[in-house]
Amino acid sequence: MPRAGILVDRPYERLTKEQVELIHQASMEILTAPGLISFNEEAANILHSHGAAVESIPGDRRSWQVKIPEQLILNALDNAPRTVKLGARNPDNTLIMQGDEPRVYLITGSETNIWLDVEFPTYVHKSDASREIRVPEFKPRRGTVEDLCQSAHVCEHLEMVDGYIRTVNIQDREITEENKDVNKFFASLNNNTKHFMSGLTSLKQLDNVVRMAELIVGGKKALEENPIISFITCLVKSPLQFVDDTTATFIEVCRRGLPVAVSSSPQAGTTAPIKEAGIMAQINAELLAGITLGQLVKPGTPVLYGSVPVRARMDTLGDSYGSVETSQYNIDCAQMARFYGIPNYSTSGVSDTKIPGQQSSIERLFSDIVVAMSGPQYLHCAFGLLDCNSVFCLLQAVLDDAHFKMIKFFLRQPRIDQPEMEAALKQIRAVVTTPQKLYISYIRPVLRSGEISGIYPFEGSGETDDVLELAYEQMKDLLARPVEHIDRETTARIFEEIPGILPRLNVYERES
């Protein structure tokens, strides 16, 4: 049984049919003129051998101008699977995404450099020592492998988290470019039984992490059937360029037939036009080019339409994920992906705020609600992320989980049909004849059936705002709950066969 996610009955769409067509047509035109620049030779060759016009561009860095004919793109879109399955160590955590079904799965991520520790020291009132309060204190520091394990652990227990993208960049002294991938994959997979998606630091490690996944599920064939890992590659550099190294990674991932999110993150104002029509035509062109390349490498490769559009901040030209336009672009992209029938990777919940609290919750909720309403299948919703995705805080992740429960409830389909209405009429007719004229006795049959939305779990008592403290208590509870690690025998094999994993990550060695 796959996870349920949130099935959005009638997704919120902003574009008319004509506007969708207009964007599609403009993207086709962009891909033939000017086309895109590939800094990766193999990509240029692959596209060339399938009929794209390719010309070498003079300069000190080798690059090729590639013009992709419309038919090539349409064929690729035909080949791209409509249904993408993302497996999991625990099969109950499988995600089944259909390109035309607006079922939203909520995913964590992405890597931040800073981990925010939380403590609640007690303060005593200056003039009345009997009065004490606990105040949250936040301390930033560089993320470590242990932090990643903790984050994976807590996210395993967060009910609304459907899949895991690592939330923190591991920066221990022992971590090098060579061993980073195997450690981030092992730390995540060993502490979390949900689907794991990741980028790759070094292409040389691809076969090692794939082998790790094979050992966990029981072989090559088993991994094909239950792809517990998938990849995200940002092969596009906007505007309209294929980056050399990430494109090489993308090609190799496609060759192995594992699911992959083709991502592009143009910034309206700097690396894409500031107006909606322009950024939409460009990002769509960039993603279609990536999807086309993937299908040419291996027809049928499961791909996600990985749209990460954002508007520039006018005061710094950094990303403004919290801007209204960013949500609009995301919603438009969900609709474009649905038009092509390819599952969409989307983003919400990114906030500028530096610490958990009211501002961060309000900022993120705005995009969380509206983007979820548009029905992207794979929603990277920044669980626990702060300060424009550069900081991760477990406490915030716990808050986000509670808020997503509310969003899920809000997006339920209306329960109005003939039998419901008949029962309602019966109730009304019955109650109006009673002396109290109250419906209270009808509550109990539905009270515990999940039909009534719950109380906000972190509601304070009395006049105080205890949200953060209560969430902190829950965070500690979740950390105290065990997770199902990879079994002893498999762990031993992984450590035997795959070089570079830090010995202290072996929970069985630690025990003995």
Binding site: N113, V243, M314
Partner: protein, 228 residues
Amino acid sequence: MSKDIIATIKENVIQGRKTQEDVGIDDSLAGTPGVVELVQQALDKNTSPQVIITEGLTAGMEVVGEKFSTKEYFIPDMLASAEAVGAAMDIMKPVLESANVETKGKFAIATVKGDIHDIGKNIVAILLKGAGYDVHDLGTDVPTEKVVGFVREERPGYLGLSALLTTTMIEMGVVIKALEESKLRSSVKVLIGGAAVSDEFAQEIGADAYCADAFAAVKVLDSYRQMG
């Protein structure tokens, strides 16, 4: 007459109008010559380049800076003005050289090896050019040898390195080491910037300064000049 043209240059810098085609903040100057055309006219009339720079270009940029700090202007406004000034400096370069007027100095900038992020680096380049520095942009993913080679041959007084990834920030240290080994380190001040790095990191690798943004870069370089 020349006084008028200088005032108009300043006004056009404030409006961020590089050429005649540019609209500017509002359309009050639309269709009239922009900074590039005006500077050419001024030079043709033998106006002192020193006066063009201090009373026209720099004076205009100062107003732009004030407007930015009071949030009347945004970065795109600032960059438009900086680009206009940068283009004017290009035109004046030969004149300045033949008149032996010193520029503020040569500044080379690169995103280090393995890193392709360049939005921030480009902003720094535009702003410093607008502030009167002779900027040489070496591009992204630039190998250490290329940076060192440039320093050896072109002798810039300042070198800016940008890195946004924790995996590439170490390259900055590699560049500094290579400069030391080539006995070039003392000839050049090294500024670093980008999301991954910090003041601490700058100290750790022996860079001269960390800059949180492009404005900090202008300040730091100007302060070096004041110190001589």
